[in-house]
């Protein structure tokens, strides 16, 4: 082999630049390198300058036709350029990788903030639940306190009621006592009245006046403001009947009078009704209705001072008058 290569080298040294070697390892290697570089899948990602590619390709193509020194130079050049292209491709890959990493960085931050938000949301939810629980607890306590208060109040109310009942009982007892007193007083009054009525009836004495014999029935015969005779008065009218019977055939005027309290018309009406009551009572006892004439005089004919209670009592009366003048 050696003689062949020697003569081959000699041939190049001496011979034409055009003379091509049968086999050039550098050339084949670089061509292969180039093909590898050119066929890389990521080749498109690192667009190489067209002029340089052409230049390199031209250099490669030129190699077989070049003389040894020149070929060596071209081989060095092509090798450097291939290395350069490889570096460019690697750099492009790294740039892509860098871009991806930056996106990843953003995605991580985004995810982190999403998680932060989620955590805050959970925190807020936890706080909400806690505050809800606290509110429920407070409500429960408030209810408890209310129940307690109500119980206390109920006890107080019970005590109060007991106190009130006792008070009421006391008041009732007192009232009963007063009632009894009143009843006693009433009884006393009634008996006093009865006594006074009887006394008055007994004391009935006709008085001689210019109008004739006059018998005056006091206001004890009537209840206050009433026209009807009291029951006990009704039974005590016998002396009156006896009085008018002492003058048979004579006209009898029965006149009602009142005090000056109240309206005149009312007083007149009341005096009329009272006079009528007496007349009716006498008729019921057997008096002759034809002789009796009842009329009301109202407050027109007082016999005492209306300014005093006693005077007013004396003015409230019914007079039975037997006209003896005619």
């Amino acid at each position: 082999m050696r003689p062949y290569w020697l003569s081959f080298g000699l041939l190049i040294a001496l011979g034409a630049c055009a003379s091509a070697p049968k086999r050039d390892l550098d050339f084949e290697r670089l061509q292969a390198d180039w093909r590898v570089l050119d066929s890389r899948e990521d080749r498109a990602r690192a667009p190489l300058e067209a002029a340089r590619v052409d230049d390199t390709l031209a250099s490669i193509q030129a190699m077989p036709k070049s003389e040894r020194e020149q070929r060596k130079h071209l081989a060095d050049l092509v090798e450097l350029r291939i290395a350069n292209f490889s570096a460019s491709v690697a750099a492009a890959m790294d740039r892509e990788r860098m871009l991806a990493l930056e996106n990843e960085h953003k995605a991580i931050l985004l995810e982190a903030s999403r998680r932060d938000a989620e955590l805050s949301r959970l925190d807020a939810e936890k706080l909400r639940v806690q505050s809800l629980a606290r509110a429920e607890e407070a409500e429960r306590l408030a209810e408890q306190a209310l129940v307690e208060r109500e119980r206390t109040a109920a006890v107080e109310v019970d005590a109060d009621l007991a106190r009130q009942e006792a008070d009421a009982a006391r008041r009732l007892a007192a009232a009963r006592g007063r009632e009894a007193d009143l009843a006693r007083q009433e009884a006393q009054l009634a008996s006093a009245q009865a006594n006074s009525l009887q006394q008055q009836m007994a004391a009935l004495r006709p008085v001689r006046t210019e109008r004739g014999q006059v018998l005056t029935l006091g206001d004890v015969f009537f209840a206050g403001g009433q026209a009807d005779l009291k029951a006990e008065a009704r039974g005590n009218l016998k002396p009156v009947l006896d009085f008018i019977d002492r003058y048979p055939g004579q006209k009898v005027f029965i006149e009602g009078h009142t005090d000056d309290r109240g309206a005149d018309a009312n007083n007149l009406a009341l005096s009329e009704r009272r006079a009528s009551s007496v007349r009716d009572a006498l008729v019921a006892l057997g008096a002759d209705n034809g002789r009796l004439q009842a009329r009301g005089r109202g407050e027109a004919v007082p016999i005492a001072d209306n300014a005093t209670a006693d005077g007013r009592a004396r003015n409230r009366r019914v007079e039975v008058i037997v006209d003896t003048a005619n």
Binding site: L14, G15, A16, H73, D76, L77, L80, R81, A83, N84, A87, S88, A90, A91, D94, R95, R97, M98, L101, E102, E104, H105, I108, L109, E111, A112, R115, E118, L119, L122
Partner: protein, 130 residues
């Protein structure tokens, strides 16, 4: 061709000598590679600005040497050699720059990867949301 041999010798001889002369003349007549010089200088400068002295010191050194050599060869009027030196200086300088860029990118990528990993660990692994 009965006279082939003498003719061949003559032709071969004259061809060889002509080629030799042509080669010498050609070498001598190569113009000053000013374009290559500019490109080589720019490439070396770019490599330097990319930090090639740190990231690709060998290539950077070789590029500078080639550039210096090319200049010297221009000085000594060896334009053909200068052209080759400057072409190499340019290619070597570009490679140094590319390697520097690549190295920085790789460093950036590594930093970013570590940072993402740290972020992922710090922000996402703890306080797992159910």
């Amino acid at each position: 061709m009965p006279d082939a041999t003498p003719v061949y010798d003559t032709v071969s001889r004259s061809t060889l000598s002509a080629l030799l002369i042509l080669t010498l003349v050609g070498c001598a007549s190569t113009p000053v590679p000013s374009v290559e010089l500019t490109r080589a200088r720019e490439a070396v400068e770019r490599a330097q600005s990319e930090g090639a002295a740190d990231f690709a010191p060998v290539d950077y050194r070789m590029a500078r040497d080639a550039l210096d050599r090319g200049r010297a060869q221009i000085e000594s009027r060896d334009n053909s050699a200068a052209q080759e030196s400057l072409q190499l200086a340019q290619a070597r300088g570009e490679l140094a720059a590319a390697k520097s860029v690549g190295a920085r990118l790789r460093a950036d990528v590594a930093t970013k990867e570590a940072e993402n990993q740290r972020l992922r660990r710090e922000l996402l692994s703890e306080g797992q949301v159910p």
